[in-house]
């Protein structure tokens, strides 16, 4: 099975500044691997198994060695395309790149909280089925068995290929790469894809800060503050 692991396709949200008028200033926020990207790689590797292959795919102007330092030997990059506020435009750009990579069985991409809908939109553009919230997967007889949490249960679904999986991490990255792996990764070749930046279908006409729920502080000694907190929770019907 040939899998594409899509990584580092958005900017670091923690580096963005929200101005007082609500404008989001991305400033020096770089392209960054998302919290779910390590899970993307793990799932793609599980699917490929010993007989298959995984290639990485990234967009934007970021450093590309992230996936190569985590065991991939091949990566593609579309540096002309940056993340768009229009999630569908980002998905169209990724779909163009997937098309150029050639024959692919599965595309694994983060089902990212900060960018909801990209995984589903990518599947729609490719015309493939999609499963979101996936925690793990493996190939089985030309199909994909994917698992995800549903409430307290774990659901396993058997899916045909080609398809898109939206991955969700269940924990921290188990073993981040060391210095040597990072240095070797930067020496591995990255193939650049010529992907035309798709036109964004949404444009901001104004900004405002979201309404905020003010914090409530409880003064006094620790016992008094705890008692006030409990009283407030009871008052709000939460206890």
């Amino acid at each position: 099975m040939r899998a594409v692991a899509v990584y580092k396709w958005s900017r670091a949200t923690a580096s963005a500044l929200v101005r007082q008028d609500g404008e989001v200033d991305w400033g020096s926020a770089k392209m960054a691997a998302g919290d779910d990207d390590p899970a993307v790689l793990t799932i793609a590797k599980e699917l490929a198994g010993a007989d298959g292959s995984v290639v990485g795919l990234t967009i934007g102007d970021g450093e590309t060695a992230w996936a190569l330092a985590r065991g991939l030997d091949t990566a593609y990059a579309a540096p002309q395309v940056g993340p768009s506020p229009d999630n569908a435009a980002t998905a169209r750009a990724l779909a163009q790149a997937v098309d150029q990579i050639g024959e692919v069985d599965v595309v694994v991409i983060a089902d990212a909280v900060a960018h909801p809908g990209v995984a589903a939109a990518l599947a729609a553009v490719l015309g493939w089925p999609v499963l979101l919230g996936v925690n793990s997967a493996e190939a089985a007889g030309g199909r994909v068995n994917a698992r995800r949490r549903v409430g307290n249960a774990v659901e396993t679904l058997s899916l045909p290929t080609p398809l898109v999986l939206g991955a969700v991490a269940v924990g921290e990255e188990a073993k981040p790469p060391g210095m040597m792996e990072m240095i070797k990764a930067r020496k591995k070749p990255v193939t650049e894809l010529a992907v035309a930046p798709p036109e964004a279908g949404v444009a901001a006409r104004g900004t405002r800060r979201p309404d905020r729920q003010g914090a409530r502080l409880f003064d006094g000694s620790a016992d008094e503050a705890a008692a006030s907190l409990v009283a407030a929770l009871r008052g709000d019907g939460l206890l």
């Binding site: 007082q20 400033g27 020096s28 060391g178 210095m179 040597m180 990072m182």
Partner: protein
Amino acid sequence: MSETPEVDFDVIVIGAGVAGCVSAHELAKAGRSVLLVERGPEPGAKNLSGGVFYCRVMEQVFPSFADAAPVERVITRNCLSFLNRSSFVNLDYADERLAEPVNAVSVLRARLDAWLAEQCEQAGVMLMAGIKVDRLLVEDGRVMGIGAGEDELRCHVVVAADGVNSFISRDAGFRAKDPPNHLAVGVKSVIGLDRGVLEDRFNLEGDQGAAYAVVGDCTKGVGGGGFMYTNRESVSIGVVLRLDDLARSGHSAAGLHDHFVDHRFIAPFLKGGELLEYGAHLVAEGGQAMVRDLVRPGLVVVGEAAGLALNTGLTVRGMDLAAGSALAAAEAVEAALAAGDCSAASLDRYRRNLAASFVGRDMATYRRAPAFLEGRRMFNDYGPLLADVFHGLYDLDLKPRRHLLKTAREALKAAPVGLTDLMADGWKALRAL
């Protein structure tokens, strides 16, 4: 000339703050292969919000630094404030000359450090973030590289720029644990304010900014002080508390921070603001006395890791000293590499460069400042005394007016400070500052 061992890089710099980035940038610009290792997931990620950067030195590294770098505001107004329970005396100095050329800027380190690291990469530095260097590789007393987990990398020179705690310096035997009177804890909040409101409250125009240095009731008499400076759309405010005095006082650092922020003369600056960040950070306060060895065979230490920080009571400096030390170190390391000799004697050029630079000279000039600032009268007595003098001048209570000197003498008589104390402290201040 000594042997030239096989290496992965000419230089490995530990820490992508101001000192680390400037060192790495200058050495890469000189054509050296440089690895810049940062512990945080991104450069700037580990830094607590920001500070006032006396940035003239950066023009030597990045021409038009103040225009090109992501700075918040150009500081053109400095206030030295004596804060008392019911009075507030300010020496307010605003000067357009401080904007041309730019003298100081407020910065948010998450943005500045990311920008600096980007300049390094453009100069050819290999940046590696998310790596915690846990040891130096030492052979026959010479530093040969770094180790992180199972991996080891070798180089001709390691530049330790890993901040005030510098475990690398301690491992190398440079620094024992610093005594508590050499260290302070800084507790800081960043309060978001509408830009127009902020500029009105601090009497600012455009990108101009203000910085306050505060002593007195902001720390309830604990050695240290308060600070407040303006960013583009926020105010950074907090206290710096000498550890030994804080421990003696029985106060908590967080409690004193809250006391300052809620103080009746400070709270109006922040009214309606939104808390954006809150955190604490260890600060070097020992001045010249904290500066230890700077060089070992194959190793130099720069910035706060070398103890380079200055609190004169008027200015709190660290980033400019970091940049200055990095320039001094980079020149010496480049000379050592060119000579093929990275011994302590060869790298000692860094110590001489530093001593001759503004960094070494300023550290020497202000060597008495820490001892002067340890005097309790600075924090407890002079603020109320000044307020009493001004009260005597402005409180027109229908009694006949007296000359300033007489008014001051009356205030002094009522204060716990004697004339001898005043003269002694004045003399100390003149010598220290």
